[in-house]
């Protein structure tokens, strides 16, 4: 009897602790789950060792007027990227090189030299598109954002991404729809500092090339400017062994 009472007391004392432990464990599992999803997203987005893409960017203003840019993009891993414009004529040869630790360079052929650009330009639009320098730089979402799983449907995980303390972004948070099958994002909403929806990125025609999931089309819409940029990947080459020397100032200033 005494033992039974003692046991009940122990249970009575430990139950709330156990409850707290279970709750915290569940919460922890939830956070880990969101983090895991975002890590998978980063893995999928940066899965190819390298990629060379010829892309067509179609800029559409609020009146439906279109401008077209054609560029070549080289990417290696998740922190080396080189972009070169081929068209239009007044932007031909303009290049952008993004390296780890926010080291970025631009090359304007008219000035004959490579210019270092500082991180203040990261949130500026690149060459009139709706993509910022930051969007075009390579980065891992999980390094810059804390994820939270908002919703899980049959097809998607919906994550809320809040910039980590100390990471400067123009967005207060992002909402990301992640395809459960491929772990490739299909849509990202960008919210401004006031919490209003600002931009929407849609990724379409996601297909498997060499075991990697790749979106052949991305469209970024700026709702404030009523302007959009559609990025169409016309040619995609994956894992071709792009040498490191491509991601240097030496190659940035080369036209071809």
């Amino acid at each position: 009897m005494k033992n039974s009472r003692r046991n009940r007391r122990i249970i009575g004392v430990t139950a709330p602790l156990l409850f707290l432990f279970v709750v915290s464990l569940t919460g922890g599992l939830y956070a880990a789950s969101a983090g895991e999803i975002l890590s998978r997203v980063d893995q999928v987005m940066n899965a190819p060792k390298d990629r060379k893409v010829t892309m067509k960017m179609v800029l559409v203003d609020k009146n439906g007027n279109e401008k077209v840019r054609i560029a070549e993009s080289y990417q290696k891993g998740d922190d080396h990227r080189l972009i070169k414009f081929l068209e239009p004529a007044d932007q031909k040869g303009v290049g952008f090189l993004s390296l780890p630790n926010d080291v970025m360079y631009v090359y304007f052929p008219a000035f004959k030299k490579v210019r270092r650009i500082a991180s203040h330009v990261k949130n500026s639009n690149f060459a009139g598109t709706d993509f910022t320098y930051d969007d075009l730089s390579t980065f891992k979402y999980s390094e810059d954002y804390n994820p939270e799983l908002l919703e899980e449907t049959d097809s998607f995980y919906v994550l809320k991404l809040v910039p980590k303390p100390g990471v400067k972004k123009d967005y207060s948070f992002l909402k990301m729809w992640v395809d459960k099958g491929s772990f490739h994002p299909t849509k990202v909403e960008f919210y401004d500092k006031s919490g209003n929806l600002w931009k929407v990125l849609k990724m379409r025609e996601i297909e498997k090339i060499k075991d990697y999931f790749v979106a052949r089309e991305m469209e970024m819409k700026d709702l404030k400017k009523q302007h959009s940029t559609k990025m169409i990947m016309e040619e995609i080459e994956l894992d071709t062994g792009i040498p490191d020397k491509i991601f240097t100032k030496r190659y940035l200033r080369r036209t071809r």
Binding site: L59, D61, N65, K67, V68, P88, A89, D90, Q91, K92, N101, D102, V103, F111, K112, K113, R115, R116, I117, A118, S119, H120, V121, N123, S124, N125, A127, G128, K168, D170, K225, H227, D244, K245, T248, K249, R250, R254, T255, R256
Partner: protein, 445 residues
């Protein structure tokens, strides 16, 4: 003959694989002159030829054909010339033409051979470390423009290190602005205070076309340390602006005047340079310094009579004292897209010699609208104080407000002004009657 060459080239254009270029018009109006007048009338066609016959070869050529200036008609025969060159003064210029050989002998060694612009330094437009390509000062307000120079450039890269070695076989001088601006930059003869000059003539003596006389060379090593780009450089050659070496004064006793003949040459110089660029707290920072080590430069003034020189006085125009020219700059882009760029400059491009260096602040604020179609730079200026002891009486500035509109890709319309004011003897006060409006159109293809 020029016309035939041009026609041949224009007919051959479609045969070239990669031809881009632009058509540009540029007009300026001097608003202070009596009831105003046009000062600049330029219409140019510039073709850029570029191609890569193989993975390791690349060529580039830039050809400019333009009509520039005003009709120079003084008689009916000028209107009857078949060339029409008095009605439309025109010229043809090969601005650059070079060949690149990538991976020459070594995988990491690139050669560029031919007429090229070699641009060193991290500062914007004013680069005291960049002395291999001469300045093109034809347009005074386009300071920082360079001319292509025949040269060989070898670049060896072992990331993050890069080594440049440049050789210019024959020194090419800088071009000068029109006389009214040249006097502002370089002063007059420097003799007018002592004599009343009747006739003035000058002769420029170029270095002899020998490897020991006319050649220039430079080297540069660059790297990246802790995310900062750094470089060191060395240049041996000439300052691109001539200085008088000898002045002969021939007095005319009947009129009390003198005829002056000056002989100018180019001073030799060694330049040790360094630059950096990087990012701190989100701002861009750069700096560039060049230590110029000149030789003594002596002006000999002679009074010459029919019997020969009767007196000769030597004056040291520039001592062999090293002097430092430098630029420090920073830029930032605000959240709303407003961009600012500021540079502090010690020693402008034409200022050489320890006692002739002035301090300048160059600032530009610009903002883009309409999805980058419209760019407005309301606050863009260069300011200078030539004497900090009495800054109120020794200052000058040029304010350059500008609007650029791109109604669609490949077309650019620019409207701007040069508003100049100041006090004292500096460059800007001497130009303060030169307020001008300008308009440019540029169509790229």
């Amino acid at each position: 003959m020029k016309k035939e060459i041009l026609l041949t080239l224009l007919c051959a254009l479609p045969l070239w694989a990669g031809v881009n270029g632009f058509v540009e018009t540029y007009n300026r109006y001097w608003v202070n002159a009596d009831s105003g007048r046009w000062t600049w009338n330029e219409n140019s066609f510039q073709a850029l030829f570029e191609g890569a016959p193989s993975e390791k070869l690349h060529y580039y050529a830039e050809l400019r054909f333009r009509t520039f200036g005003f009709p120079g008609i003084s008689s009916l025969s000028d209107l009857q010339r078949k060339e029409k060159d008095r009605v439309f003064p025109y010229s043809l210029e090969l601005k650059e033409a070079y060949a690149d050989i990538y991976g020459f002998l070594l995988d990491d060694l690139d050669l560029r051979i031919g007429k090229q612009i070699i641009a060193w330094g991290t500062a914007d437009k004013i680069n005291p470390t960049s002395n291999l390509s001469p300045y093109d000062l034809e347009d005074f307000f386009d300071f920082g423009a360079k001319l292509g120079v025949n040269s060989l450039k070898a670049t060896y890269t072992k990331d993050p290190w890069s080594f440049d070695l440049c050789f210019v076989p024959v020194f090419t001088p800088s071009t000068m602005p029109p006389p009214e601006y040249a006097d502002v930059l370089f002063g007059g003869t420097g003799l007018s205070g002592d004599y009343q000059i009747r006739n003035f003539s000058d002769t420029i003596m170029m270095p002899e076309n020998k490897i020991t006389e006319a050649s220039e060379a430079g080297s540069r090593v660059s790297t990246n340390i802790y995310n900062w780009d750094l470089s060191l450089s060395y240049f041996h050659g000439y300052i691109g602006f001539p200085l008088p070496e000898k002045a002969e004064m021939i007095p005319d006793s009947s009129s009390g005047t003198v005829d002056v003949r000056t002989f100018l040459s180019y001073p030799e110089v060694d330049v040790i340079g360094a630059d950096f660029s990087g990012s701190l707290f989100g701002l861009g920072f750069w700096g560039e310094g060049a230590l110029f080590v000149p030789e003594d430069y002596v002006l000999t003034r002679e009074i010459v009579t029919p019997q020969g020189p009767v007196s000769s006085v030597d004056t040291i125009l520039r001592r062999d004292e090293p002097y430092l020219k430098f630029v420090l700059g920073s830029d930032y882009t605000f959240g709303d897209g407003t961009y600012i760029n500021a540079q502090y400059i010690h020693g402008f491009i034409h200022e050489n010699g320890r006692d002739s260096l002035n301090d300048y602040l160059v600032f530009r604020l610009e903002k883009k609208f309409l999805n980058d179609e419209l760019k407005i730079a309301p606050l863009s200026f260069a300011a200078c104080v030539t004497d900090w002891g009495e800054p109120g009486d020794n200052y000058g500035f040029v304010w350059i407000p500008e609007i650029e509109y791109k109604p669609q890709d490949n077309i650019e319309l620019t409207l701007g002004a040069f508003v100049i004011d100041g006090k004292g003897t500096g460059m800007f006060p001497r130009m303060k009657e030169h307020d001008e409006l300008y308009f440019k159109t540029k169509l790229s293809f």
